[in-house]
């Protein structure tokens, strides 16, 4: 596998060159200047790699918060009436530069949901397949990063086409896939790194992984029965503080639920797909008026059971979480998934006592 050395002086010229064949997406501050997010860069704009730890995950690149699924007209005078028209959207080649490894890994996890043998979600899949992911390894993980305990990590290669490692005066680029190869060629970054590159990367990786303090254990969760966990007595304590907003679900790179809704004006309509959150009261409201998760604690329990148990059981491929720590940082009432996971993992249905 090739390792290319990109001298930092070649960074801007390379991206400028790559722009000719790719739409560039990267982290930049928003208009107000405070909150950084992953967006399509303007013609001359460069990604701000120092701001790559965005509040919102980059999932919006592939899965926008509001997306028009199709449009229609019921106007008898319209030749194309009653035909559902998917809006023309450019799924041009896009390069996501500076994405964190755990966020790229999250996409592969979410893909299990949107790209199955039975059904392929065209909106998510078309957008995902158009992207080339040029990730940036995390040399200094922060205190809420627990990616190494959930099959990811600061240098994880899952879901990436290129992994960039910052070594002060250069980026060492591990070219992982053909798509990655194509991008490097388009940017004209072709200088092979010397023999010491691999060791340099390994050293940085070891240091980063050692710096991760936060961990979660989930080895016992797979053996605990769903009902035991579901009926456990700690949920009220875990979920009391929750205010049932959508913050955790919206910042999470592995959350994927959406709501479908039409907006109609006269004889013209559009069907939208909007992010939805299982934390919301109405999430499971039935047309009959019955709501199986009408109680706050039921919804909190659902979120953690989904992420840490149901997904684990269904796919047998780890938790539905990549350890990015965004929910921990953004939750207004400090509900901490690390604590919850460890509480679930250490639960003993046989024992009578439970922590207050």
């Amino acid at each position: 596998m090739k390792i290319i050395r990109i001298d930092k002086k070649e960074w801007n010229p390379g991206l400028t060159q790559a722009r000719q064949s790719y739409r560039l997406v990267g982290p930049v501050a928003d208009e107000a200047g405070d909150v950084a997010e992953f967006r399509t860069l303007d013609a001359e704009q460069m990604p701000d790699l120092a701001a790559a730890d965005t509040v919102l995950s980059p999932k919006a690149i592939v899965y926008p918060q509001s997306e028009v699924m199709f449009e229609y007209s019921t106007d008898p005078g319209d030749e194309e009436r009653n035909i559902l028209k998917r809006p023309a959207k450019a799924y041009d080649a896009c390069a996501v530069v500076g994405i964190r490894p755990y966020d790229a890994a999250a996409f592969t996890l979410v893909r299990k949901n949107f790209d199955t043998p039975d059904y392929r979600d065209p909106y998510w899949c078309d957008a995902y397949e158009a992207c080339t992911f040029v990730g940036l390894a995390v040399n200094q993980p922060d205190s809420t990063d627990f990616s190494t305990s959930v099959d990811s990590g600061p240098f994880s290669e899952k879901g990436l086409d290129v992994l960039l490692v910052d070594t002060q005066d250069a980026y060492l680029a591990k070219v992982l896939t053909e798509k990655g190869e194509a991008f490097m060629t388009a940017a004209d970054w072709q200088t092979a790194a010397d023999a010491s590159a691999e060791a340099a990367i390994n050293d940085l990786q070891a240091a980063a992984e050692a710096a991760i303090q936060a961990t979660v254990q989930y080895d016992r969760i797979k053996d605990l029965s769903i009902l035991d966990l579901y009926n456990a007595p700690f949920w009220e304590d875990v979920g009391f503080a929750c205010i049932n907003c959508g913050t955790c679900t919206y910042v999470c790179p592995t959350c994927w639920c959406f709501d479908i809704q039409d907006e109609v004006r006269g004889k013209i309509g559009r069907r939208f797909k909007n992010w939805d959150t299982c934390m919301e009261t109405q999430f499971t409201l039935h047309a009959s008026g019955h709501n199986p998760r009408g109680d706050k604690v039921m919804r909190v329990r659902q979120r953690f059971m989904h992420k840490l148990k149901y997904f684990l059981d269904k796919y047998e491929d780890g938790l539905m979480c990549v350890g990015c720590g965004r929910c921990v940082r953004s939750c207004p009432v400090n509900i901490d998934i690390r604590k919850v996971c460890n509480t679930m993992n250490s639960y003993d249905p046989e024992a009578c006592a439970c922590p207050v």
């Binding site: 205010i243 913050t247 009261t281 207004p332």
Partner: protein
């Protein structure tokens, strides 16, 4: 501040042990610096986890609506005013509550502090009027007055207005404060500029509704944004729908908002949505001389008719 903690714990313990309350709502230590987690304590032994410091900005009055038990609750100035509001609005009865009043000297703003230091914050300590912030390779001492939450900086009701026992001595109220300096600054802008100001303010909004859900006033079983028959507000990211959510929510808080700041504190993207409610608070004050949540026996102006009510705008 540590004396507050002792008082809160011992009062809560006593009430639970004597059966005066079935549960106590307070804060326990968070898993991250500058954060605390609201918690429910049901046993006297459990009161050992209760804490109090300048990171208790979330409004605990948010957690009592609809509960039927006898509840003990820790309440600072603004929280207590929201409790009065709940009583006035029949969401809870005074008899159900036993309130530990906490005279407050202001809560600190996590976002502000984060922006003032050069790296990730790993530890925070408070000492009198200083906030000492430590990271992997820095340690800074900040003046608490410089890092207060915006609403705390202009607060004129720091002492609880309703309580059964106090956790500490009453504090002096701030005076000479212009509560509406920020609103006036916006009022002074031209119309086009005002439109743009609010456009920019709301651009990062992700409709997570953390502001609404953190607000003790927002207790409607079905919020107007969730109604679908008819659908008042769209659910997409259309900027007009986002703006409508915010200003219409502010309208629903008119004459009721106590400026507790929980909305701003909860927002994951740092929107200062108090500019909406502050304007309405100012209007209520100017038009009716009204401040929300001070007296459980007085009906608010927006649900009483007085012949002298201003009506020059009605033709």
């Amino acid at each position: 501040m540590s004396s507050y903690i002792e008082s809160i714990r011992s009062i809560a313990e006593k009430w639970l042990a004597d059966g005066d309350v079935e549960l106590v709502i307070g804060f326990r230590a968070g898993s991250m610096p500058l954060m605390n987690e609201p918690c429910l304590v049901r046993t006297p032994a459990g009161t050992a986890q209760l804490v109090w410091d300048s990171n208790c900005g979330i409004n605990l009055a948010n957690y009592i609506t609809g509960r039927k038990e006898k509840i003990g609750i820790v309440a600072k100035g603004c929280d207590s005013r929201n409790i009065v509001n709940h009583i006035v609005e029949n969401k809870i009865s005074r008899e159900q509550l036993k309130i530990i009043g906490v005279p407050c000297q202001g809560m600190i703003d996590r976002r502000k502090i984060t922006a003032m230091v050069p790296g990730e914050i790993l530890e925070v300590r408070e000492e009198d009027t200083a906030v000492i912030v430590k990271g992997a390779d820095f340690e800074e001492t900040l003046a608490k007055a410089d890092v207060l939450q915006q609403n705390c900086a202009v607060c004129i009701h720091r002492n609880p207005v309703i309580y059964d026992e106090l956790a500490g001595e009453l504090v002096a109220e701030q005076d000479g404060i212009d509560r509406y300096a920020d609103v006036k600054a916006i009022e002074a802008l031209a119309e086009e500029e005002r439109w743009d100001y609010f456009e920019k303010l709301l651009a990062p909004c992700i409709r997570c509704y953390a502001c609404r859900n953190a607000c003790p006033l927002c207790y409607c079983p079905t919020c107007f944004v969730d109604e679908s028959k008819p659908q008042w507000v769209g659910k997409s990211q259309d900027p007009i729908d986002v703006r409508t959510f915010h200003f219409l929510r502010a309208y629903h808080c008119a004459g009721r908002c106590t400026d507790c700041g929980a909305c701003e504190r909860a927002c994951p993207v740092g929107i200062n949505m108090r500019v909406f409610t502050k304007k309405l608070e100012k209007d209520c004050y100017d038009a009716f001389g009204w401040e929300a949540g001070l007296d459980p026996d007085v009906r608010p102006p927006l649900d009483t008719y007085r012949p002298g009510d201003p009506d020059a705008f009605i033709k």
